[in-house]
Symmetry: C2
């Protein structure tokens, strides 16, 4: 059963939705009829089972009866920010989709010294809007309760302002030196409410960039012995956080 985010807070058990995009998808694409059911997530991140009462094709509105769902949340118990150096369009879009499926709370794309792409200031808004739309669709498909926010930073140095409890930088040179315990040890402490992981471009970070982040409490961690592409490492990181926080032996 599909799920849609609505930009409103539900306060009654009958609601008329006038979002033309939802109308198109529900009525035109999926051909739902009266009494069919879908899910809505409202602005308060509450999940509702919604039963179609009336379809008004002239005004493109649908009237639903709502029942609050008691399904458990699908959100990670920690807020995870994934910050990636700018890359080619398809990779940035791909990271946005996959990081959303894997539970990221926030996505940051930033310029770094060896970034292979740069966004001119006049395209940033359009690029972010497109990525935000990809995040919304992926969040609906993976049944998230929130849509991750997608942000752009013109320079890696702006990451030093991040105030996550645990801050990591995936650093190939650490992995090459056999560093393989810092991530596990840090996560084992289990008190973190928020985590950020920073991932470099194909060409890696400059030593200066790593030094800067290290000075601001980012820990350089290895993610295993194999060289991962720039877009693969953040997926590894998110998968591992889910394993650590959502799967357990209990």
């Amino acid at each position: 059963m599909e799920q849609y985010f609505v930009n409103q807070t539900f306060t009654t058990n009958l609601v008329t939705i006038d979002d033309t995009e939802i109308f198109k998808h529900v009525v035109t694409v999926l051909r739902h009829k009266v009494s069919d059911q879908i899910y809505f997530v409202d602005k308060l991140k509450e999940l509702y089972l919604a039963t179609i009462q009336e379809i008004d094709k002239d005004n493109k509105t649908i009237k639903f009866e709502l029942v609050k769902s008691d399904k458990p949340s699908t959100e990670l118990p920690v807020e995870v920010t994934v910050a990636c150096s700018l890359s080619k369009k398809d990779k940035v879009e791909w990271i946005t989709q996959k990081a959303t499926e894997l539970g990221a709370t926030k996505l940051i794309f930033f310029n770094s010294q060896y970034s292979i792409m740069h966004w001119k200031q006049n395209v940033v808004e359009k690029k972010l809007a497109r990525l935000q739309e990809i995040a919304k669709n992926a969040a609906q498909q993976s049944k998230r309760r929130i849509i991750p926010e997608v942000i752009y930073l013109s320079d890696l140095s702006k990451l030093i302002g991040d105030n996550s409890d645990l801050k990591f930088i995936a650093y190939e040179e650490s992995a090459k030196k056999g560093e393989s315990s810092l991530l596990v040890r840090s996560l084992d402490k289990e008190s973190a409410k928020s985590i950020i992981g920073v991932f470099g471009p194909e060409g890696g970070f400059s030593p200066k960039e790593v030094d800067l982040l290290n000075e601001h409490n980012y820990l350089s961690v290895g993610l295993g012995p194999r060289i991962m592409r720039a877009e693969t490492a953040p997926m590894y990181f998110l998968s591992v956080l889910s394993y650590n926080y959502e799967l357990s032996s209990k």
Copy 2:
């Protein structure tokens, strides 16, 4: 420094490589000169540091001096097979590339009841050759010691013959019921030398298919509360195995 697989066993410290693909990449694309260095992995999975001695442009051969490398292996300490239901061409190729980066030993693509693609018998060989090439390139890029083998099974039922120590099927219905401990508990035993994970198509497995695999010692496991796309779940699985077997708190 780049790495190439060669289909021979090195027995001397001087070798002439007549692989035209390697010649093209080393000399034409990367414009290496005498005394430049690259890595080779030979048929015995040994890594060699190779220094260019002579480039013969007429015969397209390169003479190298070899020194066996003592770099630690980049292979997972368990053999991991990832078996995925057939999907669209770009997804199958994508799974092959990413699963190779993430350390899979073997990749199986199989037909299942709700597979959205099917391979006609006369295209199987060509498809596998293409995927094997993708696996080789990804293995070289991620500095693997082996190239994962890519296999096709015409029917999911053929998976019952797999003799891995631990056998998993990623089952959405298990995740929906809140199953979140079986994977961790199974991995905690730590005696497995080989593991297989089976992943369904977008439409999932039929209950009959799950029953069949369950009867043959495949454990239905949940991979967290979010719905992942067909190509994302195997990446989650491989990342988690790396975390479990390659990163540690020691």
